[in-house]
């Protein structure tokens, strides 16, 4: 069927002459720009176009594909970098050079690459939707499971083995259905699962304030809101680098080109702490930067989560970072306003909240159709205007997510990084994960942590008094609390993402650091009670030396040296 363009206003194009379904992908204009039907009214339909529409004229042709916006799923996703509609940026560069021109199509998966397919079922077996029929070694550490598309089932007539391209048939069912290693899935529809579990294991990130104070569970949801320059991107990149996840999907949604270039440059060099392999081998990047078309930005988040679901279905733990969900919401707003829809709060469409929750609902720990347990952890950055958390995107997000890492411009300004505010942040998983921590970190971990949180609370109250009377006017035990809190903040909470050693802190090291601070605290308390002057307790060298152990390559021995010195120094003070 052929139609034609009736009207062009920026990324929104009205077409006439064909009768598409909602969300059908159409190609508009002489150059065949890709777009998606988002409204149908009478004999006209409105299309959001994923490419620049300059120069496009009414009367140019429109072709309907009859398919909704889908991604290609199969071996070759890992190590790829895509735009918002799964066009590989590398292929776009080969086809049109360093600047993105339009009207170029490119397959999500390389059609020429050959993969070694090993079947795990035999002919005569019956298979249900989502079941695994074979495996492909996609990268050194990731075995890619080839699954029957969720909507297909039957009895196997023929199953092959050997080297194939993604679109070649590897399996035929008795009803004649041919199955290849690649399947397509509409991005706006969640992939089905058997059931969802309550997440019970933490995502270990190697970031002290996250693991220690505000952990997120595998399969959980977290939001990082913060004003510009407060550390959203650095935190997300740290998570992408160091968390103990199998697969990372990183969506640069309406943010900077240089940041994506940075990831592309760095990830092939960095090693996955779990496997020692280059990080890129477990990563899929989606880069739809702020200057790329907004309609494709709107789609990028769905493209990313669908890819994440696909690996989850194989039984992998996937983490998905979206930087920034605010830019996604703004893309929705822009398109909505071009459609002249009735605006809701601050011009965002009334369905903002529904879209956000639908998206975060696609996170979770699940049993997949393949019978595997997998998870998607979703971590969304939020960029509130003026850093004001009362705006609609932050508020609607907080109603959904279970973990809130609140970035604080004041902390960032004094270069306290990560500038996550320990008083306003929270994790609703803390309780549920306690058992895991007690078993896997240390029996006293939970109490050490609760104690630290307690002290930090006290500090904020004491600070108010100090603001009025100065710290010297406080009683000695309270002065000690202030000092311990300074140590907690500077030695434990502060973590330099750019320091080769400090950037990643294993749980065991986190525990020992916190334990060391607690040791000083206990000994200082005892010394104070024994009548030792505060001044002497505060001037112990071992206390100041504790500041730098986290940077040491050989942390264990550096820490032991300091702890032994601490024992000697306290002994020398006498009293206890």
């Amino acid at each position: 069927m052929k139609g034609e363009i009736y009207r062009v206003a920026g990324p929104v194009v009205t077409i006439t002459g064909i009768k598409p379904k909602m969300y059908d992908v159409v190609h508009v204009g002489n150059e065949g720009l890709m777009g998606e039907v988002i409204r149908i009214k009478g004999d006209k339909a409105t299309v959001q176009v994923y490419e620049d529409t300059s120069g496009i004229k009414p009367g140019e042709p429109v072709v309907n594909t009859g398919m909704s916006l889908s991604v290609e799923l199969g071996p070759g996703l890992l190590e790829s970098i895509y735009d918002g509609i799964q066009r590989p940026l590398k292929v776009l560069q080969e086809k049109m050079g360093d600047f993105i021109e339009r009207g170029v199509t490119a397959n999500g998966l390389d059609r020429d690459k050959v993969w070694e397919f090993k079947p795990v079922v035999s002919s005569g077996d019956s298979v249900k939707g989502g079941e695994v029929i074979g495996v492909v070694q996609e990268t050194e550490n990731i075995e890619h499971k080839i699954m029957v598309p969720p909507t297909v089932s039957g009895t196997i007539e023929e199953i092959k083995s050997g080297k194939f391209k993604v679109d070649e048939t590897v399996c035929v069912l008795t009803d004649g259905t041919e199955i290849s290693m690649m399947q397509k899935w509409p991005v706006r529809m969640p992939r089905p699962v058997i059931k969802k579990f309550i997440p019970r294991t933490p995502l270990i990130t190697g970031q002290r304030i996250l693991d220690g104070l505000f952990p997120v569970a595998k399969g959980g949801t977290a939001a990082i809101p913060g004003p510009f320059g407060s550390g959203k991107t650095v935190t997300q990149q740290q998570l992408a680098k160091w968390s103990d996840t199998d697969i990372v999907v990183y969506i640069g949604c309406g943010e900077r080109g240089n940041e994506m270039a940075d990831v592309l440059n760095e990830f092939p060099e960095l090693q996955d702490p779990k496997t020692g392999r280059p990080l890129m081998e477990r990563t899929v990047l989606i880069a739809n930067t702020s200057n790329m078309p907004v309609a494709a930005r709107e789609a990028s988040v769905y493209t990313g989560i669908t890819i994440a679901e696909y690996y989850r279905d194989m039984g992998y733990d996937v983490s998905l970072m979206a930087d920034s969900t605010s830019r996604w919401a703004e893309a929705m707003r822009e398109i909505s306003s071009r459609l002249e829809e009735m605006p809701g709060e601050e011009g965002y469409p009334a369905y903002l909240s529904a879209r956000l929750s639908e998206f975060y609902e696609r996170a979770g720990a699940v049993k997949s159709l393949a019978g595997e347990e997998g998870s998607i952890t979703v971590i969304g950055a939020v960029s509130p205007p003026g850093g004001d958390f009362s705006e609609p995107v932050t508020q609607n997000t907080l109603r959904i997510v279970k973990v809130f890492w609140a970035l604080d411009a004041k902390l960032a300004q004094r270069r306290h990084f990560p500038s996550i505010n320990w008083l306003t942040s929270y994790s609703l998983y803390t309780q549920g994960l306690s058992e895991w921590f007690t078993e896997n970190v240390a029996p006293d971990w939970v109490s050490l942590r609760d104690n630290a949180m307690d002290l930090l609370q006290q500090e904020s109250e004491l600070q108010e008094i100090v603001q009025l009377v100065g710290s010297d006017a406080l009683p000695e035990d309270q002065q000690l609390v202030l000092e311990i809190c300074r140590m907690l903040r500077e030695y434990f909470l502060q973590q330099n993402a750019f320091h080769p050693v400090d950037t990643y802190c294993p749980f065991d090291k986190q525990y020992k650091l916190l334990k060391a601070i607690s040791k000083y605290s206990d000994m200082a308390q005892a010394a104070l009670e024994a009548g030792i002057p505060m001044k002497d307790i505060l001037s112990l060298e071992s206390k100041d030396e504790l500041a730098k152990v986290k940077f040491e390559e050989d942390f264990e021995s550096a820490l032991n040296v300091v702890l032994e010195k601490m024992d000697r120094e306290f002994a020398a003070l006498g009293g206890n």
Binding site: S54, G59, F99, G257, S290, E330, R333, P385, R415, D544
Partner: protein, 459 residues
């Protein structure tokens, strides 16, 4: 495509609506012939089967229904050539200096296509500006977009000019070309820039676009795009390192707001259009370095914050796009400190990739972090001292308080022509840090203390 329509049906603010018979492209350039013989230019904003909306750059004054409208059949293009260097052009690219028209080597769409992130090279080359608060604590690198956030009446123009004069990549001979675009600034301000360019000979390697306060606001939407198109051309076709100065982004945003209102769009925060983020990104993101190409585009734009408010939508959205910001402070200016840059809210996100051993110096990062920590704490203590008096401070706190003063006086303050090398900057830093007790230098590795602390430094 020379058909002239005399079918204007409505004129409203900067917009005109025309009935037409042939298809017209979205974004097309439009020529409008007025009854008095003059012509204006505009751009198609909305095109449908029978009616077209056009925004008129020079404003709709003098237009009536008799005016003729000619659709050019193409989007807005800038004729580019290496001979643009040394030239002064209007905000829409016409010569203003009495010189001949530019003989184009090429004609390029001013909207520019977006750079493929895969083609980008992460910026890493340190640019020495000679200003300590930038080089030492908010380092600029080639291909970065780092605006100055200032306020009215503050010396941002002087700072920008000082940078344009002094900027260099140490050890590299390649000169910077400067592309300067004035958007809605006063004639006097523009003169100030032009004189300095002429005096220092910078004009020869500059391209100047002038849209002044009394030029039409709509033209302002095109001016920065012209400038960036010229910059990209010089950078990527002629291998030049181009420093782009756009001033003032605030005037640009006001024009954007005015246009939005004229189109009766649903306004976003404080009346600015909801798409202002995306629109600004289409300017700022045109900075960068491309793999395999020699040139680069670095942006150092000026933005005056209305009411000195950094949360105002203009600085706020800019900060979300640019790779940091240099914040000019009224408080420091009142204290008589030049350049009055407040490092605390300032930031260069690309600093980490441009500094360190082999680029600036191994201790650079640690020294910078330590100064931030000290200065931030010192400034807090100033607040406390105002309440409880200096005597109530501990010995430690008193030293930190003094450090904050030293920092402003020795590190921040420098002459308008003082071009400090990075070595000079770091040495000043160590001089003042050494006034603090060593135990307080917790952010600096012992090895750097041994190597650079004036009290330890061997040799």
């Amino acid at each position: 495509m020379t058909k002239e329509y005399k079918t204007i049906t409505e004129i409203s603010g900067p917009l005109i609506f025309i009935e037409k018979t042939e298809p017209v492209g979205y974004g097309e350039l439009v020529h409008i012939n007025l009854p008095d013989g003059t012509t204006k230019r505009g751009q198609v904003l909305d095109t449908s089967a029978d009616i077209v909306a056009v925004q008129v750059f020079e404003g709709t004054g003098g237009l009536n229904e008799e005016s003729g409208v000619v659709f050019s059949g193409e989007t807005i293009k800038l004729p580019v050539s290496k001979d643009m260097l040394g030239r002064i052009l209007s905000g829409s690219g016409e010569p203003l200096d009495g010189g001949p028209r530019i003989i184009p080597e090429d004609r390029v769409d001013v909207n520019g296509a977006s750079m493929n992130p895969y083609s980008r090279m992460p910026p890493v080359d340190f640019i020495q500006t000679g200003i300590s608060t930038i080089d030492g604590t908010n380092t600029l690198v080639r291909g970065q977009k780092l605006p100055i956030f200032s306020g009215s009446g503050l010396p941002h123009n002087e700072i920008a000019l000082q940078i344009a004069r002094q900027a260099k990549v140490p050890g590299s001979e390649e000169p910077f070309a400067v592309v300067f675009a004035a958007m809605g600034i006063t004639n006097e301000e523009a003169q100030y820039f032009m004189e300095d360019f002429e005096k220092t000979g910078a004009l020869e390697r500059a391209v100047v676009f002038l849209n002044l306060a009394d030029d039409p606001a709509v033209e302002r939407l095109i001016t920065p795009r012209m400038a960036l198109t010229a910059a990209e051309y010089l950078a990527y076709e002629h291998d030049m390192h181009v420093l782009v100065i756009l001033t003032d982004i605030t005037n640009y945003c006001e024009a954007l707001r005015q246009m939005g209102a004229a189109r009766e769009e649903v306004p976003g925060r404080r009346g600015y259009p909801g798409y202002m983020y995306t629109d600004l990104a289409s300017l700022y993101e045109r900075a960068g370095v491309i793999k395999g190409r020699k040139g680069s585009v670095t942006q150092f734009s000026i933005l005056t914050m209305p009411g000195d408010d950094i949360t105002h939508p203009i600085p706020d959205l800019s900060g979300y796009i640019t790779e940091g910001q240099i914040v000019v402070s009224r408080e420091l200016h009142r204290k008589g400190i030049y350049p009055p840059i407040n490092v605390l809210p300032s930031l260069s996100r690309l600093m980490n990739s441009g500094i360190g051993a082999g680029k600036t110096r191994d201790d650079h990062k640690a020294v910078s972090d330590q100064m931030y920590a000290g200065y931030a704490e010192g400034r807090d203590l100033r607040g406390l001292v105002a309440i409880v008096g200096k005597e109530a401070l501990s010995e430690r706190d008193q030293r930190i308080l003094e450090f904050a003063d030293l920092f402003e006086d020795r590190f921040v303050r420098q002459g308008r022509d003082e071009d400090r090398s990075i070595e000079d900057t770091l040495n000043v830093a160590w001089d003042i840090l050494s006034e603090l007790p060593e135990a307080l230098l917790t952010r600096i590795d012992n090895k750097y203390i041994d190597k650079y602390h004036p009290a330890h430094k061997s040799n």
